[in-house]
């Protein structure tokens, strides 16, 4: 079983924070196929958030095909993100290290690198949508 936490300063809406934490738990291998997510009641009793927010997050995860609700039983993980993507991590990380070296060589400061990454990330994410 995993636990959720909310960061009120993140600027990310509470429902998205839950969605992201489930995705992250899948990526890190904390959750795998067949595992149960905490029930809505367990989440609100722990985190003090609106039950509708949890339901909305679980619906979104269901829509993405990551979990499935079994009525009267609970919500269960149906797919594992962990293993396949973890093996992809190392080459991607090496690419990133090489890119960061080039960026520093080109004279970018840390703030500049972060800004460039953030804006590119946002643009490509919007294009994908």
């Amino acid at each position: 079983m995993i636990e959720f936490h909310l960061d009120p300063r993140s600027g990310v809406s509470p429902y998205l924070q839950i969605v992201q934490q489930v995705r992250q738990a899948l990526l890190l291998g904390l959750l795998s196929e067949g595992d149960q997510l905490p029930t809505v009641k367990q989440v609100v009793a722990k985190v003090a958030i609106n039950p509708n927010t949890v339901l909305k997050a679980y619906r979104e995860l269901e829509h993405e095909g990551l979990v499935a609700a079994k009525p009267g039983v609970g919500t269960f993980v149906t797919r594992t993100l962990g293993q396949a993507s973890l093996t992809d991590h190392e080459p991607l990380r090496l690419d990133l290290v090489a890119w960061l070296e080039r960026a520093r060589a080109a004279g970018l400061t840390e703030a500049g690198i972060e800004a460039l990454f953030q804006s590119t990330f946002r643009t490509t994410a919007e294009e994908e949508r």
Partner: protein, 304 residues
């Protein structure tokens, strides 16, 4: 489904002073509604009208489809927790539950006892000897134990320390999840409302300035920073909530039903706290006394 609360041109006048004026609301069921506004804005008046402790001087209000306080049936469906969570100091915790059982036709003794056990309260303890947080929890247990369809809470966490506040909200949300209770809750602590509310009402100087589903409200508001210009130079369809100018820059907070058109500006979303503060400041520039403003500011501060 019947609205939690429906008000049309609702007003409440004390002598010559409007405590609430021209209030029109339609709150859909199954929501946790947050009510914010400075002290004296009319929050408590609206909540008392909703539970039938006051009769309106103009307009109409119905709660769960009926006139508030119109009979035993209606009273049983609505729970009310007044400011500072009053309990009877000389009665024990168990006495409170007995009282609840005697006075409420739909009382759920099992629920109330489970709650008291979960809170680790001693049933024989006098309520007057409990801590502030425990008193608030006891009052909530009694209000929720009557199994209302709607729970109305007037600043329930204002006097509690952060830990007691979080625990109170946890138990409140548990009741919502378990019983499907709708909630209307007033508070100065926007960070709390951000966690628990999915509907927001901003009340300033007796008037409703903003009411809507939190997701919709948050998505519709934007902060626009651009070279100095008049609000009139912005594209049509944008409702300007506030405008601030320096010699070369303008900052607007706008409300738009459609996605924001592209333009020669930087647009960003607002936090709920910034959004609420924008409405509070925009409504009455300079009209509120400095004392009141600083009091509100310190209350908001306490919510961080």
């Amino acid at each position: 489904m019947t609205a939690i609360l429906e008000a049309h041109a609702l007003g409440m006048r004390y002598g010559r002073r409007d405590a609430l004026a021209d209030c029109t609301l339609n709150l859909p069921p199954g929501h946790v509604v947050g009510l914010v506004g400075p002290n004296g804005a009319g929050k408590s008046t609206l909540l008392k009208l909703a539970c039938g402790m006051l009769n309106p001087t103009s307009g109409s209000i119905s709660v769960l489809g009926d006139t508030p306080g119109s009979g035993a049936g209606q009273l049983a469906r609505v729970g009310f927790l007044a400011q500072d969570a009053p309990v009877y100091g000389n009665l024990s915790v168990a006495d409170h539950l007995r009282l609840g059982a005697h006075l409420n036709p739909r009382w759920d003794q099992g629920f109330a006892q489970r709650r008291i056990a979960a809170l680790e309260l001693d049933p024989s303890q006098k309520a007057g000897k409990l801590s502030g947080g425990q008193r608030a929890q006891l009052a909530l247990t009694v209000a929720a134990g009557k199994k209302p369809e709607l729970l109305i809470l007037d600043e329930p966490v204002a006097s509690l320390d952060p830990l007691a506040r979080r625990e109170f909200l946890r138990h409140l949300m548990e009741s919502v999840a378990e019983n499907g209770t709708s909630v209307i809750l007033s508070s100065h602590l926007i960070s709390d409302l951000e966690r628990v509310c999915d509907y927001l009402i901003v009340l300033v100087s007796s008037h409703v300035r903003l009411a809507g589903e939190v997701d919709h409200v948050m998505a519709a508001h934007h902060r626009i920073v651009c070279t100095r210009r008049d609000p009139g130079a912005l594209p049509p369809g944008l409702d300007v909530v506030s405008a601030e100018h320096t010699d070369r820059q303008s900052t607007f907070v706008v409300c738009a039903d459609a996605p924001l058109p592209a333009g020669d500006w930087a647009a960003e979303s607002l936090s709920m706290e910034d959004l609420v503060l924008t409405y509070l400041e925009a409504t009455e520039p300079g009209a509120r006394s400095a004392a009141q403003a600083s009091e509100t500011a310190s209350n908001m501060e306490a919510g961080r």
